[in-house]
């Protein structure tokens, strides 16, 4: 492969041109890697915040049925699906809560507090008083902040739950939470047993919330559960706009990044053009020595490819280091719905490193096509004259 040695020689000898071309591509790749790592990090934060309160999958009863019967078998089946990290059953109904002269209609939900906390972080992140886990022991309830405000009730006091056809219960307030999300703050949580007593129902539930290791598996897992006859919706189906917003954002961001890289590879095209002009005589000599047109073309394609690859590797290293540094700085932003300031994360996806090195390589080779073609079409006699 003498073509490769000629290309390598140019790269080694033309240091300034090499540094400029590799620098331009490298910078573009580095910008891309950092920008993508910010995108990944934001997505990660966004997802984890979003799914602190939303399930990845919501399972509801079979068509025509009011409840999920035999839910223990179903839950075991769900647990057996790889990637499932939390399964939280709920028995939900409506109740009227009364405290002294104040009344409020609420969504009353019977849950297993440990499981609920796994799918929502309600117990860990959003309690402002008391303890979510306390509902497991007897006639106890935790209330959302909105309800607390309306009833003007305090921790440790009794509220009365009633509803037509329901068995009235007296419940001790053992916890208060505040999520900032109206829907949630108008809910109350009790144990599954308490909810069944209140509704006078057997061992049934009305829905199951599921969390997965990887949210992007939600569709696959949901369809697996649907196959059993239950209604299973992934977060994508529940919040279609959410996915669309992410897709549009990702697409436009990627488009800009690819454009940045295309512009950077103009640097390679320019370096190659200059090189072909400068090396005209040398090309003539190589032709006189018997190098054919495709060999000459290959020299310059190799060269742009190698420059692109070097740029890609350099850019990945630089981008990775900058991302790691920025990540370690733990910059924060505050959001009105988030309980704490959000740490801006820069997460480098290893696939991005590979993908953008390859993209840099492909774009650079493409940038070399025209100059390489020009070089190969030189007339040896004219070229030798310089």
């Amino acid at each position: 492969m003498f073509e490769l040695s000629v290309a390598m020689k140019h790269i080694r000898v033309k240091k300034r041109q090499t540094i400029l071309a590799v620098g331009a591509v490298g910078l573009a790749v580095a910008i891309t890697i950092v920008s993508r790592s910010l995108m990944n990090g934001s997505m990660e934060s966004f997802f984890s915040i979003f799914f602190e309160l939303a399930p990845h999958i919501l399972v509801t009863p079979k068509e025509g049925e009011e409840y999920i019967y035999l839910y223990k078998t179903l839950m075991e089946t769900i647990w057996a699906i790889p990637g499932v990290i939390a399964v939280s059953p709920t028995l939900a109904t409506t109740a009227t809560l009364a405290y002294e002269d104040n009344v409020d209609n609420v969504a009353l939900q019977g849950v297993i507090s440990v499981e609920l906390n796994k799918v929502t972080k309600l117990g860990d992140e959003y309690m402002v008083a008391g303890d979510l886990y306390a509902i497991q022991n007897g006639r106890r309830v935790v209330l959302g902040q909105k309800i607390v405000d309306k009833l003007d009730v305090k921790l440790g006091e009794n509220v009365r739950a009633t509803f037509p056809d329901a068995k009235p219960l007296t419940l001790v307030v053992v916890g208060i939470f505040d999520t900032g999300v109206a829907e949630w703050d108008e809910s109350v949580f009790v144990s599954l047993d308490t909810a069944r007593d209140f509704m006078d129902e057997g061992d049934v539930i009305s829905s199951i919330n599921i969390h997965l290791e990887d949210p992007y598996q939600a569709d696959a897992v949901a369809s697996e559960i649907s196959a059993l006859g239950y209604e299973a919706k992934s977060w994508r189906t529940m919040f279609p706009d959410f996915q669309e917003a992410i897709d549009i954002e990702t697409f436009s961001n990627n488009l800009i990044l690819i454009l940045v890289m295309v512009i950077a590879t103009f640097g390679i095209a320019n370096a190659m053009n200059m090189l072909v002009l400068e090396k005209t005589k040398e090309i003539g000599m190589l032709m006189a020595m018997g190098a054919n047109r495709s060999s000459i073309r290959r020299i310059f394609l190799f060269e742009s490819g190698i420059l692109g690859l070097m740029g890609g590797i350099f850019g990945c290293a630089l981008g990775y280091l900058v991302s790691v540094y920025l990540h370690s700085q733990e910059y924060t932003v505050t959001a009105p719905t988030a309980p704490q300031p959000i740490v801006i994360q820069f997460l480098v996806d290893p696939w991005d490193l590979l993908a953008f090195t390859l993209i840099a390589l492909v774009l650079s080779v493409a940038a070399g096509v025209y100059p390489a073609h020009n070089a190969s079409q030189l007339d040896p006699v004219v070229a030798l004259r310089g």
Binding site: F2, K281, M287, M289, G290, A291, N292, S294, S295
Partner: protein, 245 residues
């Protein structure tokens, strides 16, 4: 002896704006192992003829035969292959690859021929040692004298054992001592290896070291001289004046 080159009614006309007839219906036979000089005034078509024989350029009309094969209209890939296998070019010193060392320059035709790198290096070193450049292997052209560079160029032209070696004004910018040395070297190789040498020169003293001298004027051979002992005999009518180039 067999004919290595046959040229039949070769014409080359350049046409940019004005028409220039560089070769005007030339016939020429070169035998294997000949040591031939081409002389003539500037613009007489010497380089054009060499470029045709060297497969760097194509004629407007006429035919070129190499080793009994018509190569006038072969495809570029085959031309490149023949240049690599059958021909060795010696250009002026600045026609060495400037960024490559002496040994890398000599290796290049071998690498183009597909010879493996290690073997190419060994063979190139042997050539350079024979040229008395064994201690200059790693030097680049800028680090060598004109005469040394020209010897590197000769080594490069010979590296692939071509059947024809062609040189265009190859001692044009050397002092007479260096050019004598290069000529003597070629002469010796010609006797040893029976390779064919075709050398363009405007220096009659150099030309007189060869076996046959062709004189070109306006794209035609106007005079041919053959060695006989220490002198030359003319075949056709010749006006034996010195060229002023």
């Amino acid at each position: 002896m067999s004919n290595i080159i046959e040229i039949k009614n070769l014409r080359k006309i350049y046409e940019d704006g004005v028409e220039v007839v560089a070769l005007d219906g030339m016939d020429l036979i070169i035998e294997e192992g000949e040591f031939l000089a081409i002389v003539g005034p500037s613009g007489s078509g010497k380089s054009t003829l060499l470029n045709m024989i060297g497969l760097l350029d194509t004629p407007t009309s006429g035919e070129i035969w190499l080793k009994e094969k018509n190569i006038t209209k072969i495809d570029p890939k085959e031309r490149a292959r023949l240049r690599n296998r059958e021909l060795g070019f010696v250009f002026q010193y600045h026609h060495l690859l400037p960024e490559f060392s002496a040994v890398e320059n000599v290796m290049m035709p071998l690498l183009i021929a597909g010879v493996d790198k290690k073997e190419a290096r060994e063979r190139s070193i042997t050539f350079l040692e024979e040229m008395g450049l064994g201690d200059r292997l790693g030097n680049r052209p800028t680090q060598l004298s004109g005469g040394q560079n020209q010897r590197v160029a000769v080594a490069r032209a010979l590296a692939n054992h071509p059947s024809i070696v062609i040189g265009d004004e190859l001692t044009g910018n050397l002092d007479s001592k260096s050019s004598d040395m290069v000529y003597d070297l070629l002469r010796e190789l010609n006797r040893e290896m029976n390779q064919t040498f075709i050398l363009v020169t405007h220096d009659m003293k150099m030309a007189e070291k060869t076996d046959r001298i062709l004189r070109l004027v306006d794209g035609r051979i106007v005079c041919e001289m053959l060695r006989e002992g220490d002198g030359f005999v003319t075949r056709d009518l010749c006006e034996l004046e010195e060229d002023h180039t």
